[in-house]
């Protein structure tokens, strides 16, 4: 939590002078963090997953069954 918070602060800090390797280190950490959060999936895969109609079809079927019961 704190590591992520510190990194976000660093990213947002305007005019912060970072050396070439420092910048790459910071970016590398952020890329890894993002990949971890997304379980290694790409944005495209996440969008497809979030909008997969089968998920909603299952939900509405379950809801319908609950209502019938």
């Amino acid at each position: 939590m704190s590591e992520w918070f510190e990194m976000s602060q660093m990213v947002q800090e305007k005019g912060k002078k970072l050396g070439t390797l420092e910048t790459q280190e910071l970016m590398h950490k952020k890329y890894l963090q993002e990949l971890k959060i997304r379980h290694g999936m790409s944005f495209e895969e996440l969008i497809q997953m979030a909008n997969d109609p089968r998920k909603y079809a299952r939900r509405s079927i379950t809801k319908k069954q609950e209502n019938e019961e």
């Binding site: 305007k14 912060k16 070439t20 890894l32």
Partner: protein
């Protein structure tokens, strides 16, 4: 043989010198040859780097030079990167020391000008869709050419029949097209064409809003470029060098020899730093981070 720290020093010195000579900040976007492709994550990384430089939509750079080196990647990401660059800069000039392919070409469509190093090139924005099963990935251009081949087959056979005095026709193209659908898959073909329409839309938007924004005949220029880079040229590996890019109607220039050498040196140092494991490190087996750095 230089140590990695000496290489970084050389890189900083060269980049600052290019920025000084050109008279504007220099943003380096370097994607390593192996496993370095343009992805969505880069949009935020570029945004962050420009903010760290003290710039924003409200405090734009007058003239931003972008040194771009990539084989390409996701066209959606390419479009979004282009828009981020334009959010931060009133004018953008792309410097291509060696190549910027596919999604890299799309990013260049947001520039006011593209400057080529010696033997540098862009490539058409072709669409490649991964195939499921035992087949290799297929380029959309291959499908276009196959369709043309089917049409040519029919007209050639009919011509031959007519010349031989037969009054009959052929449906050879049906069989050829059925075989293609069988191999590529009908729904996958739909995906191909949908993706091309989207990429075409991105390119159109960038050309009209930025590259040809001031041109009186911008619609014509845009149409010519789109037709060429999306439909006419044969494949991803087709090289649109300075001469071909000029004939397409892109606002391109050749760098001076000194500039070309300097930008190529930047790429050479970045390659060495990547091999030394200092930049563009692995994020997974098939994914390397890009090198993104703004020199003001």
């Amino acid at each position: 043989m230089e140590t990695p720290n000496e290489l970084v020093e050389q890189l900083d010195k060269l980049a600052s010198e290019i920025s000084r000579q050109k008279g504007g900040p220099l943003l380096i976007l370097y994607y390593h040859e192996y496993a370095g492709d343009v992805r969505w994550d880069d949009v935020g990384a570029i945004y962050d780097e420009l903010r760290r430089g003290g710039f924003s939509r409200e405090n734009k750079i007058e003239k931003l030079y972008v040194l771009l080196h990539t084989f390409g990647g996701d066209p959606d990401a390419g479009y979004r990167i282009a828009q981020v660059l334009r959010d931060f800069a009133k004018s953008v000039i792309f410097l291509i020391p060696e190549y910027a392919c596919s999604a890299g070409t799309l990013i260049c469509m947001s520039g006011n000008k593209i400057e080529f190093g010696d033997y540098a090139f862009l490539s058409p924005i072709d669409i490649t869709v991964e195939q499921r099963g035992p087949f290799e990935p297929v380029e959309l251009m291959s499908i276009d050419y196959y369709i043309e081949f089917a049409k040519t087959c029919r007209s050639e056979i009919e011509k031959m029949l007519r010349d031989s005095g037969f009054d009959s026709s052929t449906n050879v193209e049906n069989e050829l097209l059925c075989e293609m659908v069988k191999q590529v898959g009908g729904l996958r073909l739909g995906t191909f064409f949908r993706t091309r329409v989207l990429t075409g839309f991105y390119a159109e938007t960038l050309l009209l809003d930025y590259m040809f924004a001031e041109a009186p005949n911008k619609e014509n220029l845009k149409n010519k470029v789109i037709r060429t880079i999306l439909f006419d040229y044969p494949s991803h590996s087709f090289c649109m060098d300075f001469h071909i890019s000029t004939s397409v109607g892109l606002p391109v220039e050749e760098m001076s020899i000194a500039e070309s050498d300097m930008t190529k040196n930047v790429i050479s140092i970045l390659k060495q730093l990547t091999l030394a494991g200092l930049i563009c490190r692995d994020l997974s087996d098939s994914y390397k981070a890009p090198f993104i750095k703004l020199y003001v």
